[in-house]
């Protein structure tokens, strides 16, 4: 179905992503980001037609934490609101469909995660198949390492190439003041072989927010809106041993449905928390060397869980806003070894 109205990302804001934010509750971490994104458009919370968020109670161990975070958006008197227990990128997808229906002209989308109170490697085991896999407690680094070894065995990469992805990402992040890990970072010891510390994302706390607007409203709110030309998300079998870990057919299919292959993109913001996953995604998305991949530094520079995917869309959109990109691809992932993938294509008006 072709979009029945044009929808754009008109503003993006994110927190400084930090290893710990002990002194802040989730809503205290979130509020400055919400205000920053609203300030960019001049909108007040009461002007927003639909609000959608992504987060997970398991990260900080706080039950129903998203309801407390709602204090930050002025949720009384009641607003039109929804939440996904996913990265904020999926909340953006829901908001996009809401705007497509015509029920709202503007949407506030945010995602946040505080990983510092718990052990994120253990926490993420709780999203695995509870019968066959979760009882073994394979942590997120271990599962990514299985994928990395599969890629090395298939001749698609090697440890030196992975180190290259790591250093390029952190070097790109040097100009990103929000990033947690910037500049030159040693590859370090193996965490789970073949992945070294440098191949893995930093653990940290952070939040991000975007504002979507439809049609003329988008032009009023933003000088150069980042029009969402297509967006789609797909999922693969939960059984890791069923999948070919060296490929990401769900990413490819989502990209196809989002129209990513119709014309070349100049920029790609990929949600690849592990260096090896960038190898998989570049192949699935057919990205050549001419495409600028993760100019923000990507998830290797800051990976606030439940916000890092939304940040990819926000970073891609911000480049369009600034005129640094005309057609950008943004990708978000969730689940072990790139199980679920979302792809969005963003374009600026022709210049």
């Amino acid at each position: 179905m072709p979009p029945i109205r044009d929808i754009a990302v008109v503003a993006f804001a994110q927190s400084d992503h930090l290893r710990t934010t002990d002194e802040l509750s989730e809503v205290e971490m979130l509020i400055p980001v919400l205000h920053a994104v609203l300030d960019q458009t001049g909108l007040k919370t009461s002007d927003i037609g639909f609000t959608c968020s992504g987060s997970s109670d398991y990260l900080a161990g706080r039950a129903f934490s998203f309801t407390m975070a709602l204090d930050g958006v002025g949720a009384w008197p009641p607003i039109s609101e929804s939440h996904v227990e996913m990265d904020g990128a999926w909340a953006l997808y829901e908001a996009w469909t809401k705007l497509l229906t015509g029920d709202a002209d503007t949407a506030l989308v945010y995602g946040y995660g505080k990983s510092s109170p718990g052990s994120v490697r253990d926490v993420l085991t709780r999203q695995l198949d509870p019968y066959y896999v979760a009882p073994l407690w394979p942590d997120s680094v271990a599962l990514a390492a299985l994928q990395a070894q599969a890629l090395i065995d298939a001749g698609e990469t090697d440890e030196a190439a992975l180190a290259g992805v790591a250093s390029r990402s952190r070097a790109s992040a040097a100009t990103n003041s929000h990033a947690q890990v910037r500049g030159s970072v040693p590859q370090g010891e193996y965490l789970v072989r073949p992945l070294r510390v440098g191949d893995c994302p930093p653990v940290g706390d952070g939040a991000a927010a975007v504002i979507l607007a439809a049609g003329e409203r988008a032009r009023e709110l933003c000088e150069r809106p980042a029009w969402i030309r297509g967006i789609d998300h797909r999922i693969e079998a939960h059984g890791l041993g069923v999948r070919d870990l060296t490929d990401s057919p769900s990413t490819r299919l989502a990209a196809e449905r989002a129209g990513a292959f119709e014309r070349p993109v100049d920029t790609a913001e990929l949600h690849a928390p592990f260096t090896s996953q960038e190898v998989v995604l570049r192949k699935a998305l057919r990205l050549g060397e001419e495409v600028r991949v993760n100019p923000s530094g990507g998830a290797l520079a800051a990976n606030p869980i439940m916000a890092a995917g939304l940040i990819r869309i926000g970073e891609a959109a911000a480049r369009v806003h600034r005129g640094e990109s005309d057609r950008a691809l943004a990708h978000a992932t969730s689940g072990p070894c790139l199980q679920q993938n979302l792809v969005a294509v963003l374009e600026g008006d022709p210049r």
């Binding site: 718990g118 709780r126 019968y131 073994l136 994928q147």
Partner: protein, 313 residues
Amino acid sequence: MPEVLKAPLVVEFPFTRSLGPVQSAFLTGLRERVVLGVKTTDGRTLVPPVEYDPVTAEDLDELVEVAPTGTVTTWAWNHEPRRGQPLDTPFAWALVRLDGADTALLHALDAPGPEAVRTGMRVRVRWAAQRTGAITDIACFEPYDGDRPQIAGHDGRFEDMVTGIVAPARLDYVYSPGRAQSAYINSLSSRRTVGERCPSCRKVYVPPRGACPTCGVVTSEQVEVGPRGTVTTYCIVNIKARNLDIEVPYVYAHIALDGADLALHGRIGGIPYDQVRMGLRVEPVWTEGGRYPDHYRPTGEPDAEYDTYKELL
């Protein structure tokens, strides 16, 4: 800024899960040292078996036995095992395609070091001594150079099928309540109740959460409220909570402390449960060493007029 408050927080739950026919057969099989897969309509054998074909979503229920020997399809060396993982000595995570299967099973591989592991190596199941019908009935895999064993061709029907599993989950956190709630908790230590006033609508929130839910702005101006307050609404509790040494029935109430624009909740004591009423004036009762009021008791003042607290219900 005062020191950030922190406390350990453990979230623990024994998830009790029922099994469908396919998972039941597989896990019962493990208890009996039999590994089962499930046949897809295109003739593949999925191990571990699932109830629906991951490609076509068709129902699957034809169980077939596969060998307890197989081949590593990928692996990762885990030199620092974490709590709950199958082995507490360094091991390899491995995806193993068992002989007779078309897909791979994730488990631990016990090997002396990463040099002893490679993709394509042959392994076999090491069974747990105590087996209950769970994935952990496979203790791990171990290197194996021998022949592929004969299998009996089990069809997945056992006496005394396992129909459920209990999967304990435990996650450890260090909880910190954030700026606003830390200030609230710190003030309680000197038996003061401190809320925060919204700079926009001027409402005073107790306990403060750092934001005004009406205005969506940060609150920061601290305001001492109480200690007296008014019961705005209440309920009578008739069920004794575990580990709670309070005689039932007792009254749990919403209490609007004087100066607050949001009621907090607390137990009402010092008055028979059936005489508690809306508008009752109460004050906190602290116990020796208590870090928050143990309960609230009547002050003896006349009841508050309904109009004075109706906005706080």
